[in-house]
Amino acid sequence: MEQNPKQAALEQAVQELNMIIRDAVSRPMGFMEVCGTHTMSIFRHGIRSLLPASLELVSGPCCPVCITIQVDIDAMIGLSSRPDVIVVTFGDLLGVPGSRTSLAEAHANGAMVEIVYSPASGLKIALQDPDKQVVFLGAGFETTASVVAATILEAYAKEINNFSVFSRHKVMYLALNALWGDQELCINGLLCPGHVSTIIGAMAYAPLCMAHGIPCVIAGFEPMDILMGIHRLVLQNLREVAMVENVYERAVTWEGNRNANGLMETVFESRG
């Protein structure tokens, strides 16, 4: 990464915001970063080491990989083992263990597994190989689900019938709600993810925030975003309030991306 004056100013701001958080945390607090991208950014930028010891960051379960349950991985591996199927997936599902093996292992043993950057690439593969059924493995939250919805609508319009989706997408607020089924969960705030919130909107966290009295702050993925988010969570705790705040206004609105939600509504319905 190149160093320029802007970058230097940012880094200074990051340091100073950290000092504020340090001073503000007078009692132990634990926040959960819901999203794996936050976890990675926190790790990559060494944010944890900058924070006071009394502030604990708990990694949430809400990365696409962690919320895909083993039997679904097994079913995906089962699909990939069929000779008439090409399984198409994002790379991150490959190494996830099923009950006996993983997609990566199945691939090494001859199963047809293609890694793509976008589900739309699955349609291209389906057109190139009309004798095979191309199955996209849909894992992840509303961001991926809306992209997959658009892809399904395209397949439908173009009558690409050898393309299908194994949908294991999850709804963010339901998954978060599920966390509170666990009595041991003791956290003082949620650092809510950026991209998913771009789609679902800040409003989506309001029921959760109200039902469990849990402060929710939506933040982007840059170090400054994350620290701003943590800072707001600290402040809410000190003031003993719980509300939804959005420090990622450049990408997240209160009501979310209506177009994407419309596409999801057209294609998907809630399971269970």
Partner: protein, 44 residues
């Protein structure tokens, strides 16, 4: 941490309009398998 049953219920299924694009329906991945049987799936 979260109970898997709850997490599973928080999923999105493909509407029946698009059932031919739904791998689950196309391949009849049996639902009993999700209740935790051994070799937990059958693809027919």
């Amino acid at each position: 941490m979260a109970r898997l049953g709850y997490i599973e219920d928080s999923g999105l299924a493909i509407r029946s309009t698009f059932s031919h694009l739904d791998a689950e329906k196309r391949f009849e991945i049996e639902s009993w398998a999700r209740k935790g049987g051994k070799a937990a799936f059958v693809v027919t």
